[in-house]
Subunit: 308 residues, 2 copies
């Protein structure tokens, strides 16, 4: 069933992208806007890489492997093998097909095109029918201060160093919203926070000028990235411990957002401690596209106050 | 048999590279210096591509397919397919493994490293034991004026437009010799002009400041790129007609170089018109690595005046 709604969804990588895929199937074409984290972006091999934007784009283009979630289905890594032989860093694995995206983007950025325009062009070429926006065209970047005293750009911390324990997250860079970001939030009937890491996926979007205020005017539904006391993907469980002194639970994530969140979707039986918000218990693991769609539909019903 | 000689060889792509492979096997390590054409170089997909340098490097690293001569054995083209989907120009086919070379080079050039240093680094990584030098670190480029009035950068003329008939060849750009080029020529016992196109492979090397004068001091052996009245590869037959009004024959190529060439190696039975130079008739088609070696050995004997 499609609904005559406008939805704006804040998203990191795999979890957020899967939810976007489900939401897109519940809405008429063009009514979904993804506002995507760019704090993870990096320069690698001389190319501009946007891991979250690419995961969202590939997922919405049905190019991403459903199980792994990131990259491109059937991808090969022949360039990576050759780069390794040439002595290039190989800790960040770029696939051969994926390289085309980074080559096109890097060339356009170097010509002076803003990231939002480049992203729109890539999405058009891949027949993505939703609006995929970087939160900002500015080089806003996430840096991680580790307990052992290092400060690392996000991907070096996560991928190269395998996520050592964290003392602090720091956002650096200008933070003007990309074109259409604030407008999409203002026009949205519902704002969704995907099941993404609050510290390093959603916060860098909320840190963009005007985004937090725009969210405050709307029903905001958060999908818990914690299921069964664990992060569905990534280092969130440790981060909740390190940055908030909290055990990994949906309530710990919601408390991080405070009054910004009005509705929460959690796994069945995991509503403990979620006071002062409207809670929906559902099956939240999006292991198939159909599960993503069913979850998205329940989420929209919930946000609109429909009885199920 | 290896010989205690120093050889400097001017080279374009496939033919020159095959001869270099043979020469390397006749000489002690490090005694062969390849001085390679950069007039064909281009920017494509935002990358710096050096087709002749790469063919020489891949051939000497035993990575090139022996039959095809260019690119990398077993190469895949997944990035190219993805680039096509993204609307990128696809007339110049870059393979997935090959991309690694262009990525490394482009990144280093953008950092300000000269092409000669980048090339040396790539050759080291690929265990190439001869010296491979770009003729110049400057952006000296070959442009082709066609009979129908267009002026095209070399690769657009050759690959994209499929070599339309030529009115004039024009070299553009500064032409300072790369480090070690003149020294290699001065120290060489023999200078070799590979079986490459005189107009668009060897001339752009000879146009580099000091190269022609350095060659004049040495025995210069030219291997004919014309066999059986045809160019072994590429558009040379038409070019001899268009630019010199000559039928394709070894003598037409030799006459182009004039007194610069002292020795010529031609296919058996094709010595007609080669007056005033020392001629060796041999089997010149380098269809296997062993044939390249045998030809190189005969060539060196010939240049040194040994009786065979």
């Amino acid at each position: 069933m499609t609904r005559d709604l406008r939805v704006a969804a804040l998203s990191g990588g795999v979890g957020g992208a899967r939810l976007l895929h489900g939401l897109e199937r519940c809405l008429p074409p063009g009514r979904l806007t993804a506002i995507v984290n760019v704090g993870d972006d990096l320069e690698h091999w001389g190319l501009s890489i946007c891991p979250d934007l690419d995961t969202v784009m590939y997922t919405l283009a049905d190019l991403a492997p459903v199980a792994r979630g990131w990259g491109i289905e059937g991808e090969t890594f022949h360039a990576l093998e050759a780069m390794r032989r040439l002595g290039a860093p190989d800790w960040f694995a770029l696939g051969d097909r994926d390289l085309a995206t980074h080559l096109r983007r890097s060339e356009a950025l170097r010509r002076g095109e803003p990231l939002s325009a480049v992203t729109a062009g890539l999405c058009r070429a891949l027949d993505v029918r939703s609006n995929v926006l970087p939160a900002t065209d500015d080089p806003l970047r996430t840096h991680v201060e580790t307990r052992d005293g290092r400060t690392l750009p996000f991907q070096e911390w996560l991928v190269r160093e395998q996520a050592p324990r964290v003392a602090r997250i720091r956002l650096e860079g200008p933070r003007r919203p990309a074109p259409r970001v604030l407008e999409a939030l203002e026009r949205a009937d519902v704002v969704v926070f995907g099941p993404s890491n609050p510290y390093v996926s959603i916060d860098p979007i909320l840190a963009v000028d005007g985004v937090r205020d725009a969210c405050r005017q709307k029903p905001v539904v958060m999908v818990s990235p914690i299921v069964g006391g664990q992060a569905v993907k990534g280092p969130l469980a440790d981060m909740l411990q390190d940055l908030a002194g909290r055990a990994p639970a949906p309530a710990a994530v919601r408390d991080h957002y405070g009054a910004l969140v009005s509705h929460v979707v959690v796994e069945r039986g995991e509503a403990a401690g979620l006071d002062g918000v409207r809670v929906l218990e559902a099956e939240t693991l999006m292991t198939t596209r159909e599960r993503s769609r069913v979850l998205a539909e329940a989420l929209l019903d919930h946000a609109l106050g429909n009885v199920r």
